[in-house]
Symmetry: C2
Subunit: 211 residues, 2 copies
Amino acid sequence: MAATRATARQPAAADRVVKPHGPTAAKRERILEAAMAVFGAYGYHKGALVEVAERAGMTHAGVLHHFGSKEGLLVAVLQYRDGEAVAGLDAREQVEGPAFLRHILDTVKENTERPGVVQAYTVLSGESVTDGHPAQEYFRERLRTLRHKIERTLAEVTGNSDPAELRDAANTLVAVMDGLQVQWLLSPDEVDMTRTVKRTLDMLLDRLSAA
Amino acid sequence: MAATRATARQPAAADRVVKPHGPTAAKRERILEAAMAVFGAYGYHKGALVEVAERAGMTHAGVLHHFGSKEGLLVAVLQYRDGEAVAGLDAREQVEGPAFLRHILDTVKENTERPGVVQAYTVLSGESVTDGHPAQEYFRERLRTLRHKIERTLAEVTGNSDPAELRDAANTLVAVMDGLQVQWLLSPDEVDMTRTVKRTLDMLLDRLSAA
DNA sequence: CCATACTTACATATGAGTCAGTAAGTATTG
DNA sequence: CAATACTTACTGACTCATATGTAAGTATGG
């Protein structure tokens, strides 16, 4: 009886820090991987737990057992993405200065090879601007972090210190990266993401250095 | 406003076709307006016909009577948007050359006053990259048209004729406009859309002129 | 008086979350 | 070291809410 229910325990939602090891962790990852694929393919609202479960090799109740709710699963997916060093744009640690700019370019290039990930990110961030969307805070925070990091880097690299110019430049770079993804997903042949981002970055550096 | 848009009229044979006039057309517009608000606020999938109907002052069956299906409604909304001169980015007719670039800037500025419209566009275009989304073809085509128009204009204005450079520049401009909207919707205070797009355009013109 | 614009009522699907129970571990302790 | 207690990872069978679409009937204005 009620041997279930380890999940929806009241004591704060942030007790998920405990990382399960071994087969359990592996199963969780399979679910997260499946969820990312499903949310990417259909969006959060249209994406069904049943399909996530199917792809992960269990029933939807099993998925719920691990993540408590659909929203919980989404949050976990987002965090999981951040945890993966590979395609993470934010570079939470010590990549600073010019290296960070190179890192951005590398990431864009890598993304070209992973349409699934790009699709998930694009769909979810678009959906996030709807009223009361659970991923809203996540994307707001993500943009904030990224903007600041880019601002700092651009200031450091170009010597420019005009706050408005730096902010606009940072927002531009982020916008180009995100905006190109939509175009690329819809018409891959019309967009060269890597080259275009590179050019934008060069332009921004020129501009900021000149002033 | 008034009895614009005989929209979904394809027959052509009999030009005596009864185009919805007077109160009928007005009611249709109320529905489209409501639908845009609802799809903007919740996305296409989460947005419910019942709510569209409520805002338009009828029952959901009434809405279905006019548009046949939810998908039909979405398509109509998209076409309706294009029909409105005001915030339409594409400028399908005779705005050419520098005037077109000014038109773009004006539109961005106007958009700042219409968060609802921006939200609808952003949400829907994001959703459109999901598998089998009904708005996919619409956005693909829209991007194509816009890209070509911008390419032509930039070539004309700067004298540059490198196809790759023009394409990248056009894609960049579109990406910046779309990308900034997401950022702006999430954190309006951190983004100055008008100024940032203006700067981007200037940079692109510089760059293309220089080469 | 009839096409058009609806309404009420219904049919039907789908999807999230609940619950009880089972099978398999992992401690615990006598 | 084995019997017992407790936990984890599920499944299957619901519930309940929500959503699209349909059918049949009513009202109305040209």
